[in-house]
Amino acid sequence: MISIRGLTKIYHTKLNQIKAVDDLDLDVKKGEIFGVIGYSGAGKSTFIRLMNRLENPTSGKIMIDEEEITALSKDQLRVSRQGIGMIFQHFNLLWSRTVHENIAFPLEIAGVPKAERIKRVDELIDLVGLSGRGDAYPSQLSGGQKQRVGIARALANNPKVLLCDEATSALDPETTDSILNLLVDINQKLGLTIILITHEMHVIRKICHRVAVMEAGKVVEQGDVLDVFLHPKLPVTKRFVEQVMGDREQDDALDKITQSYTTGKVVRLHFVGEITNQAIISTVAKQFDVQANILQGKITQTQKGAYGTLFVHFDGEESEIQKAIDFITSTSVKVEVGLHD
């Protein structure tokens, strides 16, 4: 649905030239939440601002839904932009307008008649969970509520794409989660394609289907979020994964843990998608005559399922334990069994 080819943006400053975005190729599918992650200065903001030409590219081509954004005239671009929603780190609401009037603004720009505007705004206020706050001014809202207004405003003209520039970076962790949930909700309800940029892997993990890692203006690694979490290739990516998972090298070695148990078996379970940890452990405990004792581990939920590792100590009859392990092996969970010296 979105295809980007050879996108380049060079800033000319007095002293030198900065290649903020460097020959970037990217494809985004319809209805997916696509995350772009990178450290400060990687060119993320420049990239997303090129998408609706808040910044004009030095070269390259952007297609959104068969429309070549990079070839549009100023007037055509204005019309096209009504179909591309955008939300911002600092919300960028008009403080002189109420919540209702802020959300109505893009509808005024699109020339929607007043009666229809009011109806549409009321729908949107409900959609983002701000019922009853329509007459409040932005200064009377919390950060999370302001971002909800920003989201409602971005959705007003039923856009095809939603661009999010660090939409949660100014919010506390809890509010971040509620805004991310809202984005997922909208993505599912409306089938909206979302491109979001962030420097927090947590955001990618929680809501993105696919991710691209940016460094020095280039996409250096991309793929399904789960794959990237499982097999990060480059050092940058590994560091981002560690943000969420902790350093894997520092996990206690399986065999070392095993030493401290004289009976039963210690296993390491690798979760990759689909099944959630709680379900499988309790199933095993119910179906087999073993005691399952979770020792340590880290599981993280992504849009495509759980990912992580868990150390479990099984105690009971040797044969029962073996059955339990066989059972787990038959699911998508990978099992490693610790050995005694």
């Binding site: 609706n52 096209s80 009504q82 403080w95 893009p106 200064s139």
Partner: protein, 222 residues
Amino acid sequence: MIKQLFPNANWNELWIASYETLYMTIISLVGTFVLGILLGLLLYLTTKNGIWENKILHVIVSATVNILRAIPFIILIILLLPFTDFLVGSIRGPNAALPALIIGAAPFYGRLVEVSLREVDKGVIEAASAMGAKTRTIIFKVLLPESMPGLVSNLTVTGIALIGYTAIAGVIGAGGLGDFAYYYGFQRRATDVVFICTVLIVLIVFIFQFTGDWITNKLDKR
């Protein structure tokens, strides 16, 4: 009692003079508002990286504004006499003071408008362009409403300066309290009249300040 305190006061004429002062101030303030907003917008929009970036226009407007602001008001009135005569058909009376008042105050207000516009959050303007807003929409629905408290409080400052200017305009026989005080007080040594005129002018200034502050507070939703 009042008769004894202010033996020279002619209350009917004082009332007319107050009315003339208010008339000159309010009409010239309306003119200053319109012209000042225009100048301020031009300065803001044509500036470097502005929406209508235009170096030549910016320099021309900026220089005009600076020159007009540099001319002392009393000299501006005299310089403008032929222009006033042409425009108003007379160089005496409250109406004859209006061109000089507006041309004297608009550049001052224009600079203040420019400053207020600069304070509008760049992100909000960007959000509006990301929604596909035309420049006209950005001006009338973003820039002006978002800077309105600043525009009004600066208009209050300008209005108070204008009250002072109307008194100076008395020298060309514009009428008003300044003219009145000059005529009776300076030429006839009637100190009591000067005193009354002063009180009335101060009163008008206070009313302007109070009204301006009140409107600014009402508008400010930040």
